[in-house]
Amino acid sequence: MHKFANPTFFMKIANAVFPWAAGLSVLCFIVGLPIALVTSPPDYQQGETVRIMYVHVPAAWMGSMVYAVMAASSAVYLIWRHTVAHIIARASAPIGAMFTGLCLVTGMLWGEPMWGTWWVWDARLTSMLILFFLYLGYIALGDAFEDQERGDRAAALLALVGSVNLPIVHFSVEWWNTLHQSSILSMQGFSISTEMVVPLLLMVGAFQFYYVAVLVIRLRAELLAAKIRTARFNLAATG
């Protein structure tokens, strides 16, 4: 476990993984998009709008998965002080935030034709909204300190506290929805037919490999940033 902690060793693996991740992501998009947009059948109830699902559901999955990765690597960072673990969390945050935002927007684009309103206080959509605020909080806290390491530690702790809070938020919003069920519809009660599973999985795969590929690029940028900070200090210190 400890040899992963040394950045140069870790980057060797990351750079080796990069071409595979990028390639597989492009492949999944090339295979998945035509099915999602053309060959898969429209839903008997929702018609063509069901195609939005092939972006909405993978984005929702990625938003939550990336936050889980952030929480796990933050825990490793706080417990064993592996700076690489934190850099993974820090590099992942913007990607996860983008996916969560994409999920919210596509949720609105799906909600409008279905219920005639842009925003539906549906339990899952509202949880994603709270998750989006958690991402913003993580990124803002990480950059709020002169000493970057101080920001890293604060953001890592927030990711942990946030990960404990997320299931509670989901439960609360779920219950809160049933309390006012009479007034609005919710996304439940929509079954996916078998032909839709293939494009859905392909799109999830495409997003997943995309995340790994972009993460490697951001890891390189973060490691360079750390080296630049050190080099700058040393230059200044030579006086």
């Binding site: 706080l78 709270i130 605020f133 958690l134 913003l136 909080g137 803002a140 806290l141 709020a144 300190f145 002169e146 101080r150 920001g151 530690r153 604060a154 702790l157 927030l158 942990l160 506290v161 946030g162 404990v164 809070n165 509670i168 938020v169 439960f171 609360s172 919003v173 219950w175 809160w176 309390l179």
Partner: protein, 221 residues
């Protein structure tokens, strides 16, 4: 334990010495509710329909307002360094500061809540539920707030950042706090909200002192 009592006594003495702090929180609570009324209009039945939500949300925002100063003063004048060195468990320091914050602001909000609820036409049968839900909810707000306040110590952005961090953590407390009052208005069973509020309090009591202590240790590093 001895340092817990000492910190608590000193913080309460400081709070008594500058009364302004508590008055400011209650003042914000009342003004925010009044502004809400201006926005919504004076109609009684409209206001009473959302009275539980408004009172609870304003109380939450008022509590949020006073959190930043929980550790900031001690951080700036070196007291926090000394506290972390005093042989006291950092978690005890967090708990003592949180209890002091709750006793000064949480209780002040509890006292002011009926008046604000009255101005918002809260139906008479719901006042008991309002007080009980606030009694159960505000300590959790202080506990979660302590973690947030410790996290932003020494940061460039402070206030706004603190509310961005805490609002997602506060949302469950608000949902079940307002629901308890709502249930009392409608006369339906309110066991679930109280059970969850109690559960959240116990969870916060176990996790927040530890998380706050870790954040404080990072702050003094």
């Amino acid at each position: 334990m001895r340092s817990f009592a000492a910190i608590l006594r000193r913080d309460l003495m400081l709070a008594v010495r500058n009364q302004g702090e508590m008055l400011m929180v209650v003042g914000f609570f009342a003004i925010a509710a009044t502004l809400f009324a201006f926005g919504v209009g004076p109609e009684a039945n409209v206001q009473s329909r959302m009275s539980s939500g408004v009172v609870w949300t304003m109380a939450l925002l008022a509590a949020l307002l006073s959190l930043e100063r929980m550790f900031a003063l001690d951080f700036e004048d070196g007291t926090l360094d000394q506290l972390m060195l005093s042989g006291a468990e950092p978690a005890a320091v967090v708990l003592a500061k949180t209890l002091a914050h709750w006793l000064t602001t949480g209780v002040a909000l509890l006292i002011a809540a009926p008046a604000v609820a009255l101005s918002f036409q809260l139906p008479s049968q719901a006042y008991g539920a309002l007080m009980l839900s606030l009694l159960l909810g505000t300590p959790t707000l202080s506990l979660l707030g302590a973690v947030g306040a410790a996290l932003v110590l020494g940061s460039r952005r402070g206030g706004v950042l603190l509310s961005l961090l805490l609002l997602p953590l506060y949302s469950p407390v608000l949902i079940f706090g307002a629901a308890a009052v709502e249930g009392a208005i409608l006369g339906i069973a309110t066991t679930t909200p109280y059970a969850v509020l109690g559960g959240l309090l116990i969870l916060a009591l176990t996790l927040c002192p530890w998380a706050g202590a870790v954040a404080l240790r990072h702050a003094v590093e």
